[in-house]
């Protein structure tokens, strides 16, 4: 950490020609809306508005407008909740791990990773509210809240994580917002000027400010990691705390954390690809980033595969009655195709792609990661629905709609709208704030330059007046 200390005190001076180029390039997309951008934003807005309208309809006519019935009482909304919360893991955890281990290659990707966390948490947190039969009774959670309920653990953990990742996203943005304030104010709209002025908190390029930022970031980086782990653990506990076959599992906490990291890190790669392409950031998000992120996703995929073995192979060996019945359905019954496609197609196959250096180039890595992300979503569905359709009591004498489930257009509309909402917020964010952390990239360049300089000087002669730890 001393390392960064050195750099940051040196940082204010580092506004040479090099950083001028960086600033120009990274701030270029801000405030500029190409026709394609407008079309994209318009498209997403329409989907989101449609979803809001359908949700209003659902509020009026009840959850009976969905395909959920008494057996499958949780459906696409809750599966998507778990999926979105999983995606949210990525960001912060990836960025925090890379920050704390001081990986230089992290610099151009931390912002988008943190943003992805923040947005998917925002929409992930909405899903259970959308799923509620009486959303207007949310105050009851405060008035009569029971700490014994895993749902309340979720609210506490997700709330804490959301607050934490807001801070974690915002802190390193402050110097960038100040740059925007100072550089872009001239031609920016009044709204944006106001945002920059307010959000930069009067940031000045002083050593004291940098020191403060450095210190708070260090604390936040450490705090955010256990919070992130806790979040997906308690999401897993929602299921694991029941007696249901398929959910009644002691491995669910870590299994969900592993699943979250697997899908989340893949989603980070996709965001990287998207911004690299859209904003021509090839110079900053390089093959190096894809190679390293690819390795990270590969490692997390293998860990996830390991948890799958634990989750399915252990009970499958014993085939205890009700659990065995569910497993039979998964392995060779009506979910067999989807189950094995998930295991081989969306876990082992992407791992296979990513295992090769060529598989970690942007094209192949994004193919692997799309497969992972979709697979993770379907997997959540396969965790939630089959268990609900295989209760201990046999399903007898009920309307056919109770004994089967596939999400109907209402659920799809609202869920797709939530997904569009995530895209929309990310898109708009990148139009207001730099999606690549300007000062961190500058700092990296500066660090790189100094390193080279020091290396040269060491080679020359005595190095006692130089930074001793620039190894």
């Amino acid at each position: 950490m001393e390392n960064t200390q050195q750099q940051t005190t040196a940082h204010p001076a580092a506004t040479g020609h090099q950083s001028e180029i960086i600033r120009q390039e990274l701030l270029a997309p801000i405030g500029k809306y190409s026709p394609l951008n407008r079309l994209w934003i318009g498209f997403l807005s329409v989907i989101v508005l449609w979803g809001i309208a359908i949700y209003a309809r659902q509020c009026i006519w009840g959850l009976g407008t969905t395909a959920m019935r008494n057996y499958v009482s949780w459906g696409l909304y809750i599966s998507t909740f778990v999926f979105f919360i999983g995606i949210s893991h990525s960001g912060t955890l990836v960025s925090a791990i890379l920050r704390i281990t001081n990986k230089e290659w992290r610099r151009p990707i931390t912002r988008s990773a943190e943003l992805l966390t923040w947005v998917s948490l925002l929409f992930g947190g909405m899903m259970p509210i959308i799923d509620m039969g009486r959303p207007e009774r949310i105050p009851n959670l405060i008035l009569f809240g029971r700490l014994q309920s895993p749902l309340v653990w979720d609210i506490i953990c997700i709330g804490t994580y959301f607050t934490g990742s807001t801070i974690f996203l915002y802190l390193p943005m402050i110097p960038d917002i100040a740059i925007c304030r100072d550089r872009l104010s001239g031609n920016a709209s009044r709204f944006r000027k106001w945002i920059y002025r307010k959000l930069s908190l009067g940031w000045k390029d002083t050593a004291a400010n940098w020191h403060k930022l450095e210190k708070t970031m260090k604390i936040m980086t450490i705090i955010i990691m256990p919070i992130a782990v806790s979040v997906h653990t308690v999401v897993g506990y929602i299921f694991a705390m029941t007696l249901r076959p398929g959910w009644n599992s002691t491995v669910f906490g870590p299994y969900f954390v592993a699943g979250a990291l697997y899908s989340g890190s893949a989603a980070v790669v996709l965001v990287m690809v998207a911004f690299r392409k859209m904003y021509h950031l090839e110079k900053y998000i390089t093959l190096k980033q894809f190679n390293y992120m690819g390795q990270l996703v590969l490692a997390l995929t293998i860990i996830y595969a390991y948890f799958n073995v634990n989750e399915y192979a252990v009970p499958a060996y014993k085939m205890e009655s009700a659990e065995g019945f569910l497993l039979k359905e998964l392995f060779q019954g009506r979910y067999a195709t989807i189950f094995w496609t998930l295991q081989f197609g969306t876990v082992l196959f992407p791992a296979f792609i990513l295992a090769f250096p060529k598989g970690r180039t942007p094209l192949f890595a994004s193919i692997a990661c799309i497969i992972i992300v979709i697979g993770a979503w379907v997997k959540r569905y396969i965790i939630v629905i089959p268990t609900l359709l295989h209760p201990f009591m046999p399903i007898q004498k009920v309307p056919v709609t109770w004994a089967e489930y596939f999400p109907n257009w209402v659920e799809w509309s609202i869920t797709i709208a939530a997904l569009a909402g995530i895209f929309l917020v990310i898109t708009l964010f990148a139009k207001i704030f730099p999606i690549i952390s300007v000062w961190e990239v500058e700092e990296g360049q500066e660090f790189e330059r100094k390193k080279k300089m020091v290396d040269a000087m060491i080679e020359k002669e005595n190095a006692q007046q130089l930074q001793p730890q620039s190894n």
Partner: protein
């Protein structure tokens, strides 16, 4: 519903001076029916066996029985439960012939839609070679209830008399309790409830579970509004086979539809009573007596299998 008589009856009852020191809550508690000879109405000729407070079984004319029904109790009262009671149900699988009168009478009393069966009669077969049997299943009102544990707002709760209820004025509709219940006992009001204007305008109490509210959960409630009046729940009272007993574990007595009151511990002892899926540790308050020595046709499992709902083969589903 004898709501129109409720107030009058209660006034009469209080006038009689029996249990004058007792509280209203305590008054309604007896399954051991309260009766009086101070104010004899015309005898109807119909004799009913009842148990007195000191445990004696006596036969009285049904016209002498006094109801002590009261209007729906407040939510606070409904949360406390009936003092001194531990309600318990026993279902004799040897007697059940699967007629589902219990289901129908329950639906009538609770104004439930036809597909929603608070007490449901399953056709069961534990394995291929074992005997099939009918299996009525109400809410088990577990002593270690998985449902109340997970409720985030205490909308479903366990009372001192053992009953698990839902307060639909507090329920947020998260359906966690439905996911947590291993017996698929709970139902959700997915749509606007279809109730007659009369039902919809009745005062709500968690003890009778209607009028319903969209977006909230409901289930079998053991009819505490009947128990308060010393009456049997409709599923018990209307069972033609005398297969369902309801009673108080503290009194060690349960009563069936014939009015026959028997000792709970002896009933369970003599018939090797058991609780369904004991291994889950939920401690149900509903006991079963095994389906042996039956004198009625067994369920036709083969046909049932044919008509079984898509994809769910209950023969494979060992209970």
């Amino acid at each position: 519903m004898e709501n129109e008589n409720n107030n009058k009856d209660r006034r009469n009852f209080l006038k009689l001076g029996i249990f004058t020191t007792a509280t209203v809550a305590a008054v309604g508690t007896g399954l051991s029916k309260v009766f009086s000879e101070n104010n004899p109405p015309q005898a109807s000729g119909k004799k009913v066996k009842v148990m007195t407070a000191d445990g004696k079984l006596v036969e009285v004319d049904s016209a002498h029985l006094k109801c002590c029904s009261s209007p729906p109790v407040s939510n606070e009262e409904a949360r406390k439960g009936i003092e001194g009671k531990k309600f318990v149900m026993v279902i004799d699988l040897a007697k059940c012939d699967g007629c589902a009168t219990c289901t129908v009478s329950c639906q009538k009393m609770h104004h439930t839609p036809p597909e929603r069966e608070w007490i449901k009669v399953f056709k069961m077969q534990d394995s291929e070679k074992t005997a099939p049997y009918f299996f009525p299943k109400p809410c088990y009102h577990c002593d270690n209830p998985p449902c109340t544990k997970v409720c985030p707002v205490n909308a479903t709760f366990k009372r001192q008399d053992g009953i698990v209820l839902i307060d639909n004025t507090r329920c947020i509709g998260c359906r966690f309790c439905m996911a947590a219940c291993p017996y698929s006992t709970r139902f959700f009001n997915w749509d606007k409830p279809e109730e007659s204007a009369e039902v919809a305008s009745m005062p709500y109490s968690p003890e009778q579970s209607f009028p319903r509210k969209m977006g909230t959960v409901e289930k079998c409630d053991f009819c505490p509004h009947m128990l308060r009046e010393g009456k049997l729940p409709d599923c018990v009272a209307n069972c033609a086979m005398n297969a369902i007993y309801m009673g108080d574990a503290n009194e060690d007595a349960v009563t069936s539809s014939s009015g026959e009151t028997v000792q709970l511990s002896k009933l369970l002892e003599d018939n090797a009573g058991f609780r369904y899926m004991e291994e889950l540790g939920t401690e149900p308050r509903v006991y079963y007596l095994p389906p042996k020595n039956r004198r009625y046709p067994k369920p036709e499992m083969h046909n049932e299998k044919q008509s079984e709902k898509k994809g769910h083969d209950m023969m494979n589903m060992k209970m």
